[in-house]
Symmetry: C2
Subunit: 237 residues, 2 copies
DNA sequence: GCCTGTCTGGGCGCTAGCGCACATAGGGCT
DNA sequence: AGCCCTATGTGCGCTAGCGCCCAGACAGGC
């Protein structure tokens, strides 16, 4: 069995459960390693498992006309994949793939539905999480419309850093272009500006955040708004 | 009491309830007239009433930094205002104002919560409606990113026509600019192209759809996707 | 060592939409 | 009638990002 990081590998949603429920839930979960670029959900198909990233993170993208894609959400240890089950629907409308490889907990969807029925705490928590997601979705929509690429890129890098729980992660310009809905060259230009300002450093897909504060200053306010909304709703008694 | 239109004034969500529940629910509703530009919800504040438009429609917009706004959703007889209550939160994250004046049914939020607790059918219906809204939100995000203004305008006009249940309604270029997140001049340009092509006609804020089929051809595919998603999810047994 | 595939950088002409400023026209009010 | 306010139309220079293409640079496999 591989040695895990010294940091306890938890998921914030699961951590939000009352002690006894959490124990029971964890006992029914399965620990898995997610590999880079692994596809966990396709639009229009049901999910087999729900996932709770602990040290990995997942990217959700919309698909238009089957071709064009656009990143709409990033899921790390603060969230889960499969939230639509709280609405009683096992149907993904988005594409989900692994962006940050690593550990996650998972559970079969049928089993998870049973857990939901049993646990008021789970339902309450996940309804709140869904509310936050909707808020962030609306925020992202506006962000894509109004903010300049450099600011959006900075925002995204910060979000990724939080979810990777590390100041380095792997993502190429090509991939960023797909997620932010721009050309690859656009990313190259924006990223190299950030690099010249010593905020980040990258080399063949390995990105490293050098100056988080500076990056926050370059990012649009959406990053802040998202975080405020999350803590406002999720920690509310 | 004013004479209503010959068309039966119903709301599709309410119509989706089983007969006995619908009767009871309607008995507890209040019929109101919504006035143009009336504000029904502000971000960060609780709702007093939930609204079910029957012949009116409501526009939802995000607010960024308090200033810039962007339309994200349109609510007519196919939907409701106050869906976040299904998540157990009485908190609007969006701005809601009346765009198409007319009749609507409303209920106090506290009362509505009680109805939700009592009715499995309501919960099921509204969870599905929320799922559809999320899908449409993601679609709109991508639409705003990729599609040209003229197509987005055409899409919006079609959505408004459906919700107004009429081929004419009132909305100025200025307002459209706000909702679509562009300059007023941009709307003037796009709208006059549509007018030259005899798809629409407008004069001082009074818009009339002349050629729906033609407009559909000019609109982006998002209009179709939205409708498909709605009927797929809402009519499913 | 070489070769191939992936990743990053840069140039060039183009367009949608921006910001700003001004012009015209209809409707309602006095 | 005269006036003002709102709604629409137009012109001009500017920029972010597009599409396309090619160049260099590094890594891994043979």
């Amino acid at each position: 069995m591989p040695i895990t990081k010294p940091v306890p590998a938890v998921n914030r949603l699961i951590a939000g459960l009352p002690d006894t429920e959490r124990q029971r839930f964890l006992a029914n979960c399965e620990q898995v390693t997610l590999n880079f670029d692994e596809v966990l959900a396709k639009p229009g198909t049901p999910l087999l498992y729900v996932y709770f990233p602990t040290q990995s993170f997942i990217s959700l993208t919309t698909t238009m006309n089957g071709a064009t894609r656009l990143g709409v959400m990033l899921i790390g240890e603060e969230g889960m994949l499969g939230i639509s089950l709280i609405l009683g629907l096992n149907l993904s409308s988005l594409h989900a793939s692994v962006l940050g490889p690593g550990q996650a907990l998972r559970m079969e969807t049928a089993q998870f539905c049973r857990e939901l029925e049993l646990s008021f705490a789970w339902r309450r928590l996940l309804k709140r999480y869904l509310y936050v997601m909707m808020g962030q979705l609306a925020q992202t929509a506006a962000c894509n419309r109004f903010h300049l690429l450099e600011a959006r890129l900075a925002r995204w890098l910060l979000m990724a850093q939080d979810r990777a729980q590390s100041d380095r992660f792997h993502v190429t310009h090509e991939f960023l272009a797909l997620i932010l809905g721009v050309r690859r060259v656009g990313i190259t230009k924006a990223a190299s500006t950030l690099q010249k300002r010593k905020l980040i450093r990258y080399r063949r897909g390995d990105i490293r955040i050098l100056d988080r504060a500076g990056l926050e200053a370059s990012a649009c306010s959406c990053f802040c708004s998202d975080n405020s909304l999350y803590s406002l709703i999720m920690q509310a008694s």
